[in-house]
Symmetry: C2
Subunit: 337 residues, 2 copies
DNA sequence: CACCTCTTTGTAATCGTTTACATTTTTATA
DNA sequence: TATAAAAATGTAAACGATTACAAAGAGGTG
């Protein structure tokens, strides 16, 4: 494989000039430029971005860690990040933490060794040691989907507390009083945790006493929702509505409810969270809290790039979410039995 | 940031020894090793994988190009690839081609500049120029989801022709004679193209004359399926069943059919392709041809790693797919009207 | 044409590792 | 204990670009 030296020799110029032709062509006379370009063609020169990264100490790569790319909401924000990044000639290394802190820590480490210029993380634990040491090193990174409103960490997300509140309020306003919650595990998702707090607050505000048997924590997966809904329906005092802390859980819950013979949405109202596209395509279509995932990715990348450029003070951005009312939630009716 | 030199000086050894401690610790006496490790701690040494890549000419990175990570089937194979790769200490740079050849070509270029050790591509056009030049350069890469059974390109996929045939056969065996197909655009997906050929062949084998008005090509997206099904139902002679060349299209079609008042599956049978998880969670649950996406990713990565290791001859692997019969397809009944 | 300024090009060090080869130290054996 | 063999360590060049600084060339002016 030919290098900048071969090109230089062939064109009869110095390597500095070749480098200039590549990086700032207007700084070299057009005659010379022509010679160099011709030489590059002749020896089928391929630019080595790794070598450049080595000397400039910029890899033009950022690391992205998501819990699971499987979940469309993360796929969507990933698209936002990638589109933004590629516009700026930056590539994205992707890693899945599978909601596991040790895996996440490992990924962060590897990415740092790879000299990524920045990191975007939807973290299991925003207070984890790995994150702290990123901060200590002043390394550019931003948390995505977070709830953090201020502090040393740059973050882009929505107010999950409020989101949980509104989701619950929607059910309350439909007349439901016995409202279950199927939540992603709190110890790996502070999003879920905050949504739960919003849920509790809303119940309290509406004089509904909190019943801990109506909270189920589970893995963030279709199967999780499916199993939990069955557990709820085994209860003596069943809920008439369920708030699921993400759409995948909700889709699973719909399926599970059907499997035990419930008629939806009459027998059970279900509301999700995220607003993934597919949620509007199922039956009954899913009422949900929609967050702007793609946008969040773009903005997250933008914030990161600021950090990278001017090592600015940390920035937090709270985006708006939106309650999307669809078929899966209906007015409460006393069961006739 | 401290380097290997700082460590060496602090530990009173040469850089070579430090390097050995990092890469093959058993080659250095444990006393020395201890001194070095201590020194590394003391100056908070961080390994620079970029520098290593530069000298070894291995970036320990592979490039992955998918049409759209949004589609769960690609997310799934991506997981397979990543899991396999991270077990081998390799990272994955991800790019979306959005089914566009120029974007794909751009990504390939950038990834090559970044000195990726190999490439996994689900390509828009397996005969495109960019792919050809990869082959000419003997660059390790494998095509995923492809149909290629032999030739110079390593490929892992399923027999899409057969898949299309079986999907159609399933409908035929249910008594359907007027069977539409909603397909991803042939010019950007040879998978779709091959499935269509299987579809045609199956019709012919069963003495059903091919009607070109029953083929609709569209973008691979939920919305595509939704629109096309409406177009079909506007026909004088409507199909009683539809084969969608992927599940997203099918899910869209289900939605679209509902919107124009059809009762599913009685009024219209729909079969998809891919076997994404969510397809079993919708109503009616989707009959589909399931391909082993996660496995495909793993095997694809494995094949790639072979190529990288011993520059072996190209390998093609055809995996098995499976017809999963669910609620969305039923016996044909003469419409009562 | 001499002089100055501005543009273009060249020189050579540098980035942080790895590694072939040379040298030293340790261990095993007679 | 001498010596050969094996193990551990060191030396220094190399990888392919960038870039500060120096040098040369071009162009303009009086």
């Amino acid at each position: 494989m030919s290098t900048i030296h071969d090109v230089a020799k062939l064109a009869g110029v110095s390597t500095a000039t070749v480098s200039r032709v590549i990086n700032s062509p207007d700084k070299v006379r057009s005659i010379t430029r022509g010679k160099v370009q011709q030489a590059m063609e002749m020896c089928r020169y391929k630019y080595n971005a790794l070598a450049r990264g080595f000397v400039t100490k910029k890899s033009n790569t950022i690391g992205l860690i998501v819990p699971n790319i499987n979940n469309p909401v993360f796929a969507e924000s990933t698209l936002g990040i990638q589109d933004y990044a590629s516009q700026h000639n930056i590539q994205v290394i992707l890693g899945n933490s599978y909601y596991q802190q040790d895996l996440e820590a490992g990924l962060i480490n590897t990415f740092l060794e790879k000299q990524v210029d920045g990191l975007i993380i939807t973290t299991a634990n925003p207070k984890g040691g790995q994150i702290k040491s990123l901060l200590d090193d002043q390394f550019p990174f931003v948390q995505l989907y977070s709830t953090i409103k201020k502090g040393p960490v740059s973050a882009v997300g929505i107010d999950n507390y409020k989101g949980g509140y509104e989701a619950t309020l929607h059910l309350v306003e439909l007349g439901h009083r016995r409202i279950g919650m199927i939540a992603g595990r709190f110890n790996v998702s502070d999003r879920s945790f905050h949504r739960w707090h919003g849920y509790k607050k809303c119940l309290r505000d509406n004089d509904i006493s909190y019943d801990s048997s109506l909270l189920l924590q589970t893995d963030y997966a279709l199967s999780g929702g499916r199993e939990c809904v069955k557990q709820f329906m085994g209860l003596k005092k069943r809920p008439s509505a369920i708030f699921c802390s993400n759409d995948y859980l909700a889709l699973g819950a719909i399926k599970g409810a059907r499997e035990i013979g419930l008629v939806l949405p009459q027998d059970l109202s279900i509301i999700g969270f995220d607003g993934i596209q597919i949620a509007s395509y199922v039956t009954p279509s899913l009422t949900t809290i929609q967050q702007p995932a793609y946008e969040m990715g773009k903005i997250g990348a933008d914030v990161l790039f600021q950090q990278m450029a001017d090592g600015n003070k940390p920035v937090q951005k709270m985006l708006d979410f939106k309650l999307i009312t669809r078929e899966s939630t209906v007015q409460y009716k006393v069961p006739n039995k």
